[in-house]
């Protein structure tokens, strides 16, 4: 911990950054912290409760964060993939931000609690299964001890496979029930590091592409649109599902998207911004059999 705090203090002292975005312990558990002075660096922590994807705060539209000055951001593997997404999509220039990488052996399902939980198959976040980044690459500083692989939870892949095994009518019934709770608050969008549009399609009214009323039609339109826009871009950080106030299992949709994109394009989300995503690349042998 002191290595992280010392690094943050040094970056602020040297003027390499005006704000360090990391995690602190709040009353209900870990939460994002914005440290602007050396003394505040004592608050910085990193443990299994630090689930938040801090790349979300690099969204160029978040002027209240940009106002704090040049940022140094603490990133674990999934955060680094999201930062790579922002770089890949030209939302951020690499020299605008200092990246402090932390070695991560998985995080818990949520940030709650006065102490980090011991990571077991029951407590680890579902998204950590299959995560290949113990050490985020392309960072400016790397801190922390080497970490083991995260425990294997009941995986998202198994749950997606169970859904795939259903008939289309059964699958529709499943999602109809789940999405019936949606109030179209868009907390999923706001929590997403890659949902950075200046004006989201649901906020366009001339014409109104997506009905904003939380009835079945509007909810399906919203979640299908969201899924389409994140295909091949979603890093699987799980923040959308965690933010959802009514507990819709959005992680199942995201994982299915990742599977489809892999099957069609052989692409898995990379923490290297130089690796192009399918949406931004063209190859002569790209599959075209969906064009009929």
């Amino acid at each position: 911990m002191s290595e992280l705090q010392d690094t943050a203090r040094r970056l602020l002292d040297e003027g390499a950054a005006q704000v360090v975005i990391g995690w602190e312990a709040g009353r209900r558990g870990a939460r994002p912290a914005f440290v602007t002075d050396a003394a505040g660096c004592d608050r910085l922590i990193f443990d299994a409760r630090c689930v938040h994807d801090l790349a979300t705060f690099l969204n160029p539209r978040r002027s209240q964060v940009a106002d704090l000055g040049r940022a140094a951001v603490v990133v674990k593997g999934c955060d680094a993939k999201a930062v790579a997404g922002l770089l890949r999509e030209a939302q951020l220039a690499r020299d605008q931000v200092v990246l402090i990488g932390v070695r991560c052996g998985g995080v818990a399902a949520g940030p709650e609690g006065p102490e980090p939980p011991a990571l077991t198959a029951d407590t680890v976040a579902a998204r950590c299964h299959g995560c290949d980044v113990r050490e985020p690459a392309s960072v400016d500083v790397l801190v922390g001890e080497p970490q083991p692989e995260p425990p294997v939870a009941a995986t998202l892949d198994e749950r997606v496979a169970a859904l795939d095994a259903l008939s289309p009518a059964e699958r529709l019934a499943f999602w109809t029930t789940e999405l019936s709770r949606c109030t179209q608050c868009y907390a999923c969008r706001q929590a997403c590091p890659l949902c950075y549009c200046e004006r989201c399609v649901v906020e366009k009214t001339e014409p109104q592409w997506v009905e904003t009323s939380p009835h079945a039609r509007g909810n399906f339109a919203w979640h299908l649109t969201r899924a389409q826009h994140l295909a091949g871009r979603c890093v699987g950080c799980g923040e959308c599902e965690r933010a959802c106030p009514v507990g819709i299992p959005l992680g199942l949709i995201n994982r299915k998207l990742q599977q489809v994109v892999y099957e069609l394009y052989g692409y898995t989300v990379s923490d290297d911004p130089a690796v192009p995503a399918p949406i931004g690349a063209y190859a002569v042998d790209d599959t075209q059999d969906f064009i009929r």
Binding site: F34, E178, E241
Partner: protein
């Protein structure tokens, strides 16, 4: 159906004097079996009984092994669904009075004209069993807004059709602060009756005509408390439950509302706000789960050629587009301004107009916030700033800059 929803007779006066609990009109006993039969009876009679129930769904509600199950208010049909001992329901009771979406009227184009049909306001009678007192208290608080310059027919019709029995609360956790906003864990404000856990069931108290009518209509399910020492013992158990809960919640937060209101009024541009905005996602989960947030958006939706509906949907001041002008100008330019709006509406604007606060201390906003924004911590910080004697808009003399300005 255009009448104003009457505050319960024992409602807190608008002059700022707190009345936490009313003297009951009747005291009865409801056994666990009696409650189960009552719920089944209501279901058979097609009369909706809304109650806290174990949440469905394949998401978080399914939970990790060993994690406490989530609960939700919904119409229940059997006692097995009841989650009276569960966690605070994830959404408040608000959805049954101001649904996330509802039709205001339908329109149909006819030859040379447009025919409008208002949404029906004949709401079937229903009862809420086991409302949290912080959810029940929110109803008369929002009544004022819904009847201020315009009597909201749909809200009022649902209020008139609903009898609310609250369940004395044992206090959820460290984010509860009802006792800091003129309530308590067994507050009866907004309740037609209340249930307090005692051995074998619940001590039932009624506070309004609606509450009395409900117990009279289901008289077989309720019993007179035993006479003598046995009855005294039950009343003592109920009081002990309430007292323990009061003590638990009182430790969480204390506020001087006059001073908080005064500070808010004179510190619109205080740097304190810039310590809160950066963390905020602007998602408005706080207002979705809030029992008193009531802002809505109006949308027109064509259903097909020549006919459609006008709806109102939940909205939130935390969204960027909430105040975005057609010109492109946004008077609340960033999340610092939007978070300030939420606090000011609840603890300055509403109090100035109605002599009360737009908050029941349920703590849902703090629990649901994906980034750990904590309203009771923010209020404690403002209370602290208001004591520090800093003059208007001096902006945090003596405070360090950064989010720690809000840390307790």
């Amino acid at each position: 159906m255009n009448g104003r929803a009457a505050d319960s007779g024992h409602d807190r006066a608008a002059d700022g004097v707190a009345t936490q609990s009313a003297a009951p009109r009747r005291v009865l006993l409801l056994t666990h079996d009696g409650l189960a039969t009552l719920v089944e009876e209501l279901a058979t009679a097609d009369a909706a009984a809304v109650a806290p129930a174990w949440a469905g769904g394949a998401g978080r509600a399914a939970g990790a092994p060993g994690a406490p199950r989530e609960t939700e208010y919904r119409a229940v049909t059997g006692a097995a669904e009841l989650a009276f001992g569960g966690r605070l329901p994830r959404l408040s009771l608000k959805q049954f009075f101001l649904p996330p979406t509802e039709v205001l009227f339908t329109w149909r184009r006819t030859a040379g004209d447009v025919e409008l049909t208002a949404a029906p306001t004949d709401v079937p009678a229903r009862v809420v069993l086991g409302a949290r007192p912080c959810d029940a208290a929110a109803l008369p608080i929002v009544d004022r807004v819904m009847n201020w310059d315009y009597a909201d027919e749909l809200w009022n019709a649902r209020r008139a059709a609903t009898t609310v029995f609250s369940l004395a609360c044992g206090v959820e956790d460290e984010s509860c602060f009802c006792s800091a906003v003129f309530l308590e864990p067994a507050a009866t404000r907004g309740s037609d009756g209340s249930l307090t856990p005692v051995d074998g069931g619940y001590l039932v108290e009624t506070f309004s005509d609606k509450g009395e009518a409900f117990v009279a209509a289901h008289a077989d399910r309720f019993a007179e408390p035993p006479a003598g020492a046995a009855g005294d013992e039950l009343r003592a158990q109920a009081e002990a439950f309430r007292a323990a809960a009061r003590e638990r919640v009182a430790a969480n937060l204390r506020l001087d509302h006059d001073r908080v209101r005064d500070w808010l009024e004179h510190h619109f541009d205080d740097p304190f706000w810039a310590t809160l905005g950066p963390r905020c996602n602007g998602c408005g989960v706080c207002s979705s789960v809030c029992p008193t947030c009531h802002c809505f958006d109006i949308v027109d939706e064509p259903e097909s050629v020549g006919h459609g509906v006008r709806r109102r949907n939940w909205d939130t001041c935390q969204a960027c587009v909430f105040t975005l002008h057609a010109s492109g100008h946004n008077p609340r330019a960033d999340q610092n301004a939007r978070y300030r709006q939420r606090v000011e509406h609840k603890f300055l604007v509403y109090p100035t107009r109605f002599g009360d606060v737009l908050c029941t201390g349920c703590g849902r906003c703090s629990r649901a916030c994906p980034t750990g924004q904590d309203l009771s911590e923010v209020l404690a910080a403002i209370d602290g700033l208001s004591r520090s004697g800093a003059g208007p808009d001096t902006g945090g003399a003596g405070r360090s800059h950064g989010a720690e300005g809000a840390a307790s």
